[in-house]
């Protein structure tokens, strides 16, 4: 299997088999909170892809050249949170200055991502993940790609959920099931459906 094949496997794994929301149950807050409208779900998804990719890159460097070198792996969580928070702030400032239109469309989602556990999740999982051969740990490019594809997986699921919920608005539901209850049930059914991907061998 060439490197392109490995990237394909990584993409399929991150998007479907080990989807952050439906298989790892990370990032559930935005999954339920921002999935009422398609356009805001898309905005959130794009922001998450962006931040996950960048966070994967920076945290990989910090992990390799600071934490592992000085044997400080137990500080991983706090160091990564610090990094992600600072990164999101920085990115927000740059976007506000250079691309006001993008800033307005991302709006409140960008700062919200600071506390999205899926971003911290991808950063930490990158440090423990192995290439398909099962021996080599992820290198820099692998980490960045994994971050990107995990973000794509998050976006796909968020968009699917938003589409379903927009259709559900027209459905006649018992009052006790409207809103969050039916959203949670759908989330469960979607998770079951994604569980089916676990059987794939690629």
């Amino acid at each position: 299997m060439g490197y392109l094949g490995e990237i394909f496997v990584m993409a399929m794994t991150a998007i479907f088999i080990q989807n952050f929301v439906l298989a790892r149950f990370l990032g559930l807050c935005p999954y339920l909170g921002v999935s009422k409208k398609l356009d805001s779900a898309l905005g959130m998804g794009l922001a998450v892809i962006f931040v996950m990719t960048l966070a994967s890159a920076i945290t990989f460097l910090i992990n390799k050249y600071l934490l592992i070198r000085y044997d400080l792996m137990y500080l991983q969580t706090i160091a990564f949170i610090l990094t992600i928070a600072a990164l999101v702030q920085f990115v927000e400032m740059v976007i506000q200055k250079n691309a006001p239109a993008l800033y307005n469309s991302l709006g409140v989602f960008l700062p919200l991502i600071t506390t999205n556990c899926a971003v911290l999740g991808v950063a930490i999982l990158n440090t423990t993940a192995f290439r398909p051969d099962g021996v080599t740990p992820y290198n820099f490019l692998d980490s960045v790609l994994n971050g990107f594809f995990s973000g794509v997986g998050f976006t796909v699921v968020l968009l699917a959920m938003a589409g379903l919920r927009m259709r559900l608005e027209k459905a006649e539901l018992p009052k006790s099931m409207q809103g969050m209850p039916i959203a949670l049930i759908i989330a469960g059914i979607m998770a079951l459906a994604f569980y089916g991907f676990m059987g794939f061998k690629i």
Binding site: L66, Y70, L72, L75, L82, T83, M93, V94, Q96, K97
Partner: protein, 340 residues
């Protein structure tokens, strides 16, 4: 317990190194952010912040902007009117006026009105019997809706469900009634109506058109179940003393910037498609014979020529002609005109 020098050094390096590294990281990020905040600084008008503090912060969207912050930004940079915050009312408008250094102006209370007089069980012509999901949104998407008029009310009460203030009720005929006292002009029903029949109209303008049909006159008459369709005849437009009414696509439209609330259009409409809430209750002008100096100003401003009289002689109002528009009252230099 006494530490040996070696133990002390070992403890220092165990605790000190992580503290140093995380501290250095934090300091570095802080420094970068501090520099970035200068380099990428976006100037924000301090007035925007002040207005955000004054606004209720409910982010209800009644002003038509995306939340209170959006409205504050538009006031400062977009020249938006300062009296659009419905929940805040005149108090907030006054406070914003102080911040912006201008007059508060009159808080113009608006209410929602339905531009259709059809929609009940008896006053709607049905094209087919609709048995699907009982919302206007769904009914409207099935073969253009179950009612014969393609512009009229579908009668499934999406607006009623959207209203959070119980301002919309249904009468025995299934018609929607809007309670102007309860209506806060939040615009939820305006959004909910799939046929855009609902509009926010200033409460001071008590004349509005009860129809949205853009069909030609004959067709509109045929399909309308309430017999009050606008047929686009243009009589109101011709009669309007201030040219506030225009006809577009066989439908009359009132420009409320120009409208003087005289109600003349409602009286001339052949199909009674214009509703005048003040009909019959308007006061008529009367000139105090002792104060009148015969300056003729009132006669000149009267849109219906109800005031007559020669120069420097007493003027009189023909009460059968007077429509109670009050145009003459503020113009009289002697304050001789009263509405009685």
């Amino acid at each position: 317990m006494i530490f040996t020098l070696l133990e002390t050094a070992s403890i220092l390096s165990t605790i000190g190194l992580p503290v140093l590294i995380i501290g250095a990281l934090g300091f570095l990020f802080g420094l970068i952010l501090a520099i970035a905040s200068k380099v990428f600084e976006v100037k924000i008008d301090p007035r925007v912040e002040e207005i955000i503090c004054v606004l209720p912060g409910a982010n209800c969207g009644a002003c038509g902007k995306a939340g209170c912050a959006g409205y504050a930004d538009k006031i400062v940079h977009g020249g938006e009117a300062i009296n659009k915050c419905a929940p805040g009312g005149p108090d907030v408008a006054a406070q914003i006026a102080k911040i912006m250094g201008m007059e508060a102006g009159q808080m113009d209370r608006k209410v929602a009105v339905i531009h259709c007089s059809s929609g009940g069980y008896e006053n709607t012509n049905w094209k087919y019997s609709y048995d699907g999901v009982q919302t206007c949104k769904s009914a409207n998407s099935l073969a253009g809706g179950p009612n014969a008029c393609a512009w009229g009310c579908l009668g499934l009460n999406d607006c009623l469900r959207a209203c959070q203030f119980d301002a919309i009720s249904i009468d025995t005929n299934g018609m929607r009634l809007i309670d102007f006292d309860k209506c806060t002009a939040c615009g939820a029903c305006v959004q909910a109506c799939p046929r855009d029949l609902i509009d926010l109209v200033s409460l001071k303008r008590n004349v509005y058109i009860k129809c949205s049909s853009q069909d030609k006159g004959g067709e509109a008459r045929k399909v309308c179940g309430s017999t009050h369709p606008c047929i686009g005849c243009g009589l109101c437009s011709k009669e309007c003393p201030v040219d506030a009414i225009s006809i577009e696509n066989s439908l009359a439209h009132i420009d409320y910037e120009k409208c003087i609330n005289c109600g003349l259009c409602a009286t001339v409409c052949p199909t009674k498609a214009i509703l005048d809430l003040l009909f019959g209750t308007r006061l008529k002008a009367e000139i105090d014979p002792e104060s009148c100096i015969g300056c003729t100003i009132c006669a000149k401003v009267c849109p219906v020529d109800a005031i007559s009289g020669e120069i420097k002689k007493l003027h009189t109002v023909d009460k059968s002609k007077c429509i109670g528009c009050q145009q003459c009252v503020p113009k009289c230099p002697k304050n001789a005109i009263e509405m009685v």
